[in-house]
Every structure is written in structure tokens, then in C-alpha cells.
């Protein structure tokens, strides 16, 4: 039925068939609000829609379920004009009442078990009913196609945060029917509802078909009643293959048509064999964190500068960087508002580093460098190698590095983020939506054990102020200044690189648009031949 696109492509681009996508990890469940990881979001994004969404391939906001949205001058009231005629997969209509039902559901979620799993909600909305910090006030259905959301305060994260996959709009009917709010603690984890596991019901381009856990296959069927561009393939299977090598081999064997995160080392070979390697625009950051608490020398700005000078980031990007990696000189990718083109850059300069160290009386400095093991992140495909290179650079500048490996979940996050046992550490972030607060605000907006920077109140204030600026232009300017100051005045950490994770597809896959947020929508994908 979708006739708009088939003109240009050779012959029968049209469609049908099954598209198999190899993902890298298991999803947890399909209730958007209880998830916070990319592997769960991938199928969720196909099944549900958000009020606001991103223009394919960018972090730019466009209408989703809301055709348009409006913020009042106080920044507290958001009015959404909803798309007409949209239906949930269970046939119930999407209207303002349904939207508000979702907001109400989140705010009024009962039970610590459920609340503790609403990571994004807690982060963005501050808390639940009864919590004075909670942001949410009320949501009113002005008319069936107009939902009005009232918040208690202005928050800079919006409207970008409305595009978070966690805030996808689900069918209130289905949620009620399948008991969506029941989350029970069992042992050291939680059980979710039938809604979350078997009957996720949204408005998306694909209808949930099933999750075969013994083969690791999630089946999504084309939604023939989708409000937007209907899916070109009849069926999509997300096949979970954890090993990057195996994903590649399956792609080669023709048993899957696209894979997530091809190993950086395989890119060239795959491209050479005719596979398409698609780089996602960078939307992440890897940084070298500095904890000022344990070693007083690190409170000295010059010492932190010395560390920055000591790192040969250009070489790191060249030798270890995946595909489109770029040296980072600030903590945001350039697509994010508030990116400043003119921050102080710390080009590789060992002598300068040595000089700064001796000026600061910090020669012979020994630092505990914590780095994670048993983990691979898009911004950090191979932490051990990166650590080795960074440590090597620091050693060359005369800083003695005492490497402390810690398993990612077996102590690294604890030691670094909670207890601040380290002097240096490696960590990074993939942005959730286009907002500088989502980057620098998260890192440096308040005192954190990770940086042990309790005294840098001017930094906290500056960021807080920038975040609270309602006027978009003012906000942009404020964050640009924050970024300049981060580099030139504060340097609480050293940005290393923006390293976009890639996708690879078979030759016959058309229309897959990589998203900077790793939030690809597969309705545009078609199989030729």
C-alpha cells in the first residue's frame, strides 16, 4: 500500500520477506517504562511510539504520536496535539486519555519493586506520588486529541526526554488486562507482568509476535494498520547473538541480514566483501575521570591539565578507534546543542605535561587507575586495550600508573561511582536525547563520588543555571560557556573520544537508517532480490 518510495529503486525493491537482525544481547521485557538498556529498547521501539521522536538518522526532534507540542513560557505546561486515527495493536484508539493514562500510571506506580526498575522515570521525573521532588503534577485530556501535561517545575530535559523510548505510550486497555503494574520481587530480581512479557501493546510499525527464548529469537510482525510508513517486510526477527565474531559469521553465512556492533576489526573485511557497514552518527563520549578526593595532587588544576596533555588521543583514535571515532575535546558530540567550537584543546604534548607536573610539584606522581573488565560498551569496545594505551601515555609523561582492573558489575561501578576508591578511571555515556544536560549535567551537575569534586561549586552552579534556562538561545549560550570552562578552568575529567557504534547489513538490505541514539526504526527496511 505504501507507494511513495518504490519509484527510485531498481526493480522490485518492494518488500515482503523476513528481515533477520542480529542483536548483541537479551532484552529484559517489553514494558518500556521498566527498561533502561538498548537491547530491550530495540524491539520496544518497533512495537511502540513515543509522543516526540527523532528524525531518522539524527537526534533532531520531530513529531511522533504528537503531531506537535507546545511549552508555555513558564516551561511547566506541555500541550500535545495528537495524531488522529492512531490505533493501538489491540484496536483501542490512541487519544489524549490514553496518553494521560500512561503519565498517571508512571507517577502513581506502587511498590518499591516496580519503582526501583523505572530508572529513566526516576531520573527525568524525579520521583513518584508522595515524593516532594516529583516533577509530575497532572495530565489532562483537553479533548480527545489534545493532552496537557503539567509539571511542578521547568526541566531542561524536555522536550527531548519525551522521545525516550522508556516513555513510549502503551495501550491502557492492554495494560489493565495484562496486569502491567504488577512487579514482584523474587530472590535478587523481579518478575514482570504478562503485559511486559507476552502482550506488549503499542502503536508501532510492528506487532509483537513472540519471544522464543530457547533460540533467542524475537519475532515482530508487520502492523498493517500502522499510522506512518508501513513496514516493508512482513516479518522481522531479532536474533540474539552475543559474540561479535559469531554475528559476523552468521551475516556471512547469509543466515541474518543485518548485525549490530560488528567488531571494529572486521569492518574493513566486511566492507570489502560487499557488506554495508553503517556508522551511526556519534552520540557518545568516553572520558578519563579524575577523582580529586584520594590524591590531593589531583586537586591541582595543573596536574589535571598535565594528564590531558599526556594523552595521545589522536593516536588512540587511530589505533584503537572503531570506524568513525573522533577525538573528543568536550563532553558532548557536536550534534548536541551547547557544543562549543572553540574550547581549549589539549593537543598531545609530553613535555608540556612533564613541565606542568614539575610546576605543580607532582613529579613521581602515582595514580590508581581503575578500569572495567568483562564489559564492552559502544563507547568502549575494549576497555583493557584502551586502558593499556592510556596508561602507557601517562607513564611516558612520568606519571606512575597502578592499574586496578575491576569487573564491570563485580565492583567497578561500586568502587568508582559509589565509593570513589580510584584516582583515575575510564567511563563513558551514550546520550538519551538531544540535550546538553543529558551529558555534562549528568556528569558534573552535582558533587559525585566519581569525581570527588565537592569543592567545585562554581561548576555545579554554572551547569545548574544553564540547565534551568528556559529560553533556548540562552540555554545554548550558557552550555557553550560551560563547555569552554570545563576545558579551560575545571577539567574534572578528560574527554577521550566519540566513537559511534556501527551496523552492518547484507547487500540486499535497503533503507536501514542508523540512528545516533542506537534507536533504529525498521519499518523503512526492505529486502531486494
Amino acid at each position: 500500500a505504501e507507494s511513495d518510495r518504490d519509484g527510485g529503486d531498481e526493480g522490485s525493491s518492494a518488500s515482503g520477506g523476513t528481515f533477520i537482525f542480529a542483536g548483541a544481547g537479551d532484552p529484559k521485557n517489553f514494558d518500556p517504562i521498566f527498561n533502561d538498556d538498548g537491547e530491550s529498547f530495540r524491539p520496544i521501539r518497533q512495537i511502540y511510539d513515543t509522543l516526540v521522536t527523532h528524525k531518522p538518522g539524527t537526534a533532531e526532534l520531530v513529531g511522533g504520536l504528537a503531531e506537535s507540542w507546545e511549552n508555555d513560557p513558564s516551561g511547566k505546561v506541555w500541550t500535545f496535539k495528537l495524531r488522529q486515527g492512531v490505533k493501538f495493536h489491540d484496536g483501542t484508539p490512541l487519544d489524549a486519555a490514553a496518553v494521560c493514562a500512561n503519565f498517571d500510571r508512571w507517577y502513581n506506580m506502587k511498590g518499591e519493586a516496580a519503582q526501583s526498575q523505572m530508572i529513566y522515570y526516576t531520573d527525568v521525573f524525579g520521583g513518584f506520588a508522595g515524593n516532594p521532588d516529583a516533577l509530575y503534577d497532572n495530565c489532562k485530556a483537553q479533548d480527545p486529541s489534545t493532552a496537557v501535561l503539567t509539571l511542578k517545575r521547568y526541566k531542561g530535559a524536555f522536550p527531548g526526554a519525551f522521545a525516550l523510548t522508556a516513555f513510549s505510550i502503551a495501550s491502557p486497555e492492554a495494560m489493565k488486562k495484562y496486569d502491567a503494574n504488577t512487579v514482584t520481587q523474587n530472590g535478587d530480581s523481579f518478575s514482570y507482568s504478562a503485559f511486559a512479557n507476552e502482550h506488549p501493546t503499542g502503536t508501532g510499525a510492528f506487532v509483537f509476535g513472540g519471544w522464543n527464548k530457547s533460540t533467542g529469537e524475537i519475532t515482530l510482525n508487520k502492523n498493517p494498520d500502522f499510522w506512518g510508513d508501513k513496514a516493508k517486510v512482513d516479518k522481522m526477527i531479532i536474533k540474539i547473538i552475543k559474540d561479535e565474531n559469531t554475528r559476523k559469521q552468521e551475516l556471512r553465512a547469509g543466515t541474518v541480514q543485518a548485525i549490530d556492533f560488528p567488531a571494529p576489526a572486521d569492518r574493513k573485511a566486511l566492507a570489502g566483501e560487499g557488506y554495508k557497514v553503517l556508522d551511526r552518527p556519534a552520540f557518545n563520549i568516553l572520558y578519563l575521570g579524575i577523582n580529586q578526593k584520594n590524591n590531593p595532587k589531583l586537586k591541582d588544576f595543573r596536574v589535571r591539565q598535565a594528564i590531558a596533555y599526556a594523552l595521545n588521543r589522536a593516536q588512540l583514535v587511530q589505533t584503537k578507534g572503531p570506524g568513525g571515532a573522533k577525538v573528543a575535546d568536550q563532553f558532548l558530540p557536536d550534534t548536541v546543542v551547547g557544543y562549543a567550537g572553540d574550547v581549549q584543546k589539549y593537543e598531545y604534548d609530553v613535555n608540556k605535561a612533564k613541565q606542568l607536573l614539575s610546576e605543580a610539584g607532582a613529579t613521581g606522581l602515582t595514580l590508581n587507575f581503575y578500569y572495567p573488565t568483562e564489559v564492552s560498551r559502544p563507547y568502549m569496545p575494549n576497555p583493557q586495550e584502551i586502558f593499556t594505551v592510556l596508561a602507557n601515555d601517562l607513564q611516558a609523561a612520568g606519571i606512575k600508573v597502578n592499574g586496578v582492573p575491576r569487573p564491570w558489575n563485580g565492583g567497578f561501578k561500586d568502587d568508582v561511582q559509589q565509593f570513589g576508591k580510584h584516582d583515575l578511571h575510564m567511563l563513558g555515556w551514550t546520550g538519551d536525547y538531544n540535550d546538553p544536560g543529558n551529558f555534562v549535567g549528568t556528569f558534573f551537575g552535582r558533587a559525585k563520588a566519581e569525581f570527588g569534586d565537592d569543592a567545585m561549586t562554581d561548576m555545579f552552579d554554572a551547569i545548574g543555571k544553564a540547565d534551568a534556562t528556559v529560553d533556548p538561545a540562552g540555554k545554548k549560550a550558557a552550555f557553550e560557556q560551560v563547555n569552554r570552562d570545563l576545558a579551560a578552568k575545571w577539567l574534572p575529567a578528560v574527554p577521550i573520544w566519540h566513537a559511534p557504534p556501527a551496523l552492518a547489513t547484507a547487500k540486499n538490505v535497503e533503507g536501514l537508517v542508523p540512528s545516533p541514539l542506537t534507536a533504529e526504526e525498521f519499518n523503512t527496511v526492505s529486502l531486494t532480490k
Binding site: T122, D123, K413
Partner: protein, 335 residues
């Protein structure tokens, strides 16, 4: 018989209780732990606190232990941290996969190993014998994940002789009855699915079979040589029995006794090998589950249950082997 079985089972239970208790208290003393594992980078102190309370970590340790023990006794190992599924479900789903793989491997190992070992012993000192010895020695010395990689690289890339991973082709709509895909296909008359599953099974099974195969060959060979030296073989010769009769009736039967024991012990090697093989071939069994629940995620509930399961399987298999030993060797009597 009943006595022996119950004695062993009681021992098993005691071992398991000791093991669980040990693991439980050990885990609570570790940094990280479930709270850390459940939270991603986006955790705020607030969620952390919520979670700690939701999981009951603010309660005294013995209360937690009591609750844990109660759960375990009722067969509830909690939910997986990584996937949120009940642990028992995760495991009962992965178990058939590993059993299918391990069975295939042991069938290969025995089916190939016993005849090879026998022939090597029979043609002792000849080319076949020497070649067998060398190959089995290398078989024992090669890291099996590397062998898996090589086999996969040679036979699934470029020339697509075998599928590179998984238990069955993606999108195959096979009905699961027992969880053994090959068997399920036969049961439900989905012969295509069965053949497909079998095809997927070949490489992983061969990889996993390497070490047991090598060991079985060596044990069989040594045991046949030992038996050939026995006085009763001389008696059989003195009776004028024909060589084939002696081989079948006297040599083989006695020579296979130690092999049976070894097969029991090899379940251990198989379980260990499955961890590596399954990772190489993305085989959704217990092995993958073990790596998944340790590396990165520290999914302790699953890990805990897996440890118990592995121990139980190992003990039970060895008990079965011992019992079958008692059946085939009249000298061992079961009271």
C-alpha cells in the same frame, strides 16, 4: 541398591546445602552484587536506595539467608538479574540444549574412541597406534575454544558446509516438546527441523567431543593392553578359543569396565567444555548461561542455581555410572 542410592543422594544433599550456604554468604560479602548488576550507568542514588530496599538488602543477613533457604527448598531460585525470568525457567530451558550437545559429543567420543582405542591396542606399535597416540595427545593439549574457532572458520566461512552458530536455523518454526531439537523434530514429524537441528549440532558436538574422545581412546587402549596381559586371556587361549571369540567375549568386556568409569568422569569435562564450546557456537545452553551470568552481568541467582545443578548432575551421573558398573562387573556388589 536402595541403600547405596539413598546414601549417595543424602551425601549429595549435604554437599549441596554446604555449597549453597557457602556461596550465599560469600556472595553477600562481595562488592557489586545484584544492586549494581541491575542498575546501568543511569542509576541515581535514589534508585539505588529504592532497589536496596526492594530486594531486602537492608534486612539482617540471617533474615535474608532464611528467606533464601526457604525459597530454595521450594525450588525457587529467584529471578535472573539479567533477564528477569525465573531462574528455574531459564535453566530448564537451557538444560536440554546442553544435554543434547553433551549427548551428541559423548556418542561421538564413545563411538569413535572405543574402536580407535581398541584398534590402537590391537596394532600396538604400528603406524595406526602411533598416529592415534599422537593425535590424541594433541587433542588433549589443544585449547578447545581455539579448535572450535578453527573448525568454524574452516567449515562455515567461505564454504558453508555447516551453519556457524545456533541450534536451529533462524525463523524455523519448530515445536518444542522436550527441548531436544533433534528429538522434537522427530516427535512432531517436523523432519526438516530435526535435520536442521542435527546439522547445527555437528560442529559443536565434534568440538566438545575432542577431549573426551582423546581420553577414551587412551583409556581404552591402555585397558585393552592390560587385559591382554591378564591370566584369564591366557586361559582362554589355552582353551583353544578362536581369536574373535576371545576378543569379543573376554577382552572387550573386561577392557570396557574402566572406560565406563571414565565416561562418568567425562561428564565433568563435558560440562566444562560446554562452557567454551557453547560460547564459540552461540549454543543456548547451560554453558552460555554460565558465561552470560558471570561475565559482565554477575547474575548471581542464576550462577548459584547453576553451580548446584552442575554438582547434582555430576554426582548423579557418577552414581548412575557406578550403578551400571555394578551391573556389568559382577565383582562389585551393591548391597
Amino acid at each position: 541398591m536402595v541403600r547405596v542410592i539413598s546414601r549417595r543422594l543424602i551425601q549429595l544433599v549435604v554437599t549441596l546445602v554446604a555449597l549453597t550456604t557457602l556461596v550465599f554468604f560469600w556472595l553477600r560479602s562481595l562488592p557489586g552484587g545484584p544492586v549494581d548488576a541491575l542498575l546501568g550507568e543511569r542509576a541515581t542514588p535514589q534508585t539505588r536506595e529504592l532497589l536496596t530496599r526492594a530486594l531486602g538488602y537492608d534486612q539482617p543477613i540471617w533474615v535474608q539467608y532464611g528467606r533464601f533457604l526457604k525459597n530454595v527448598v521450594t525450588g525457587n531460585f529467584g529471578n535472573s538479574i539479567r533477564t528477569g525470568e525465573p531462574v528455574t525457567e531459564v535453566i530448564s530451558r537451557s538444560f536440554p540444549a546442553t544435554v543434547e550437545l553433551a549427548l551428541a559429543a559423548i556418542i561421538i567420543a564413545i563411538g569413535l574412541g572405543v574402536p580407535l582405542g581398541y584398534l590402537a591396542a590391537r596394532y600396538r606399535g604400528r603406524l595406526l597406534d602411533n598416529a592415534t597416540i599422537i593425535v590424541t595427545l594433541i587433542g588433549i593439549s589443544i585449547p578447545i575454544f581455539f579448535l572450535g574457532y578453527l573448525l568454524k572458520d574452516w567449515l562455515t566461512q567461505g564454504v558453508h558446509v555447516f551453519p556457524p552458530s545456533g541450534r536451529i536455523s533462524t525463523g524455523t518454526n519448530n515445536t518444542e516438546v522436550t527441548g531436544f531439537f533433534v528429538l522434537d523434530g522427530l516427535l512432531t514429524r517436523e523432519l526438516d527441523a530435526s535435520a536442521d537441528a542435527l546439522w547445527h549440532l555437528v560442529l559443536p558436538a565434534v568440538t566438545l567431543a575432542t577431549i573426551p574422545l582423546a581420553i577414551i581412546v587412551r583409556i581404552t587402549r591402555a585397558s585393552v593392553l592390560d587385559v591382554l596381559d591378564e591370566d584369564y586371556i591366557r586361559t582362554a587361549d589355552a582353551k583353544g578359543l578362536r581369536s574373535p571369540t576371545i576378543r569379543k567375549r573376554h577382552v572387550l568386556r573386561n577392557a570396557l569396565l574402566p572406560v565406563v568409569t571414565i565416561i562418568g568422569l567425562q561428564t565433568g569435562a563435558l560440562l566444562a567444555g560446554a562452557v567454551l564450546t557453547e560460547k564459540v557456537y552461540n549454543w543456548g545452553g547451560l554453558g552460555t548461561l554460565i558465561t552470560d551470568s558471570i561475565s559482565g552481568s554477575r547474575d548471581y541467582p542464576v550462577l548459584q542455581a547453576l553451580i548446584l545443578l552442575a554438582a547434582a548432575v555430576f554426582v548423579v551421573v557418577n552414581l548412575i555410572v557406578d550403578l551400571s558398573y555394578a551391573i556389568i562387573d559382577p565383582r562389585v556388589r551393591v548391597r
